[in-house]
């Protein structure tokens, strides 16, 4: 596995395309099959593929564990923050149409739904990568 040229070259070539497809699935969920959860899982699978081909220590240098831990809570913050913003402007919790944007009501709801999808995608991507790091790497007990 260590000196397998084919796996490493193909991984290096294919990882950007997997990430691009993940972003497409997240952002195109409004008008076709897809959404935040599926896109986040596909995005995380790119990092998992990198970790399998190059080893966990090499993958940890590309996306730090600190980043995954912070991003996992960032996604939930985005989601709940949009809901609380709606309360601040006099609507219900997660009632998007109360937000004061210069757009008709349905378009505000569509736009905010996209932001919510991005939040879910960030959380799922970070948590899946973090779970893979935790499970695949053996930790020395001190």
């Amino acid at each position: 596995m260590k000196e397998d040229v084919v796996i490493r070259t193909v991984t290096r070539m294919i990882v950007p395309f997997i990430q691009l497809f993940g972003l497409y699935v997240i952002l195109h969920g409004a008008s076709s099959a897809g959404g935040g959860f599926q896109g986040g899982v596909i995005f995380a699978s790119a990092f998992i593929l990198y970790g399998i081909a190059f080893g966990i220590t090499e993958a940890r240098k590309r996306i730090y564990e600190k980043i995954t831990t912070v991003a996992a809570s960032l996604g939930v913050y985005i989601f709940a923050g949009i809901g609380l913003l709606a309360i601040l402007f006099g609507g219900n919790f997660l009632g998007y149409s109360a937000l004061p944007l210069p757009l008709p009501g349905p378009e505000i709801r569509g736009l905010m739904a996209e932001f919510v999808e991005i939040g879910i995608g960030i959380t799922v991507m970070a948590v899946m990568t973090s779970i893979f790091y935790d499970m695949a790497s053996k930790e020395e007990v001190e």
Binding site: A33, F37, Q38, V41, I42, M128, F132, M135, A136, K138
Partner: protein, 81 residues
């Protein structure tokens, strides 16, 4: 909604489920379970649930298998029953 297709997929599903809980090598059981998930995703796509089929193909056949294989490689491949 094509009942012949559903029956054929159901036959594969039952064979995969029984094989996944019967086979003694845990790595084989995990791989058979991935095949089970993929067949289930095909069945849901045929029943017009495209979002759920997409999720199952990404999660059940992808992430869950990776997690199972990570755990099997950290513990043991041997199973008594």
């Amino acid at each position: 909604m094509i009942w012949e297709f559903n029956f054929a997929m159901f036959l594969f599903l039952v064979i995969c489920a029984i094989a996944a809980i019967t086979v003694r090598n845990l790595l084989s059981a995990v791989v058979i379970f991935a095949a089970y998930s993929l067949i289930m995703a095909v069945l849901w796509a045929e029943m017009n649930a495209v979002d759920v089929a997409f999720t199952e193909a990404a999660v059940g056949a992808g992430i869950t298998t990776v997690l199972f294989i990570a755990v099997v490689s950290r513990t043991t491949r041997r199973s008594k029953d």
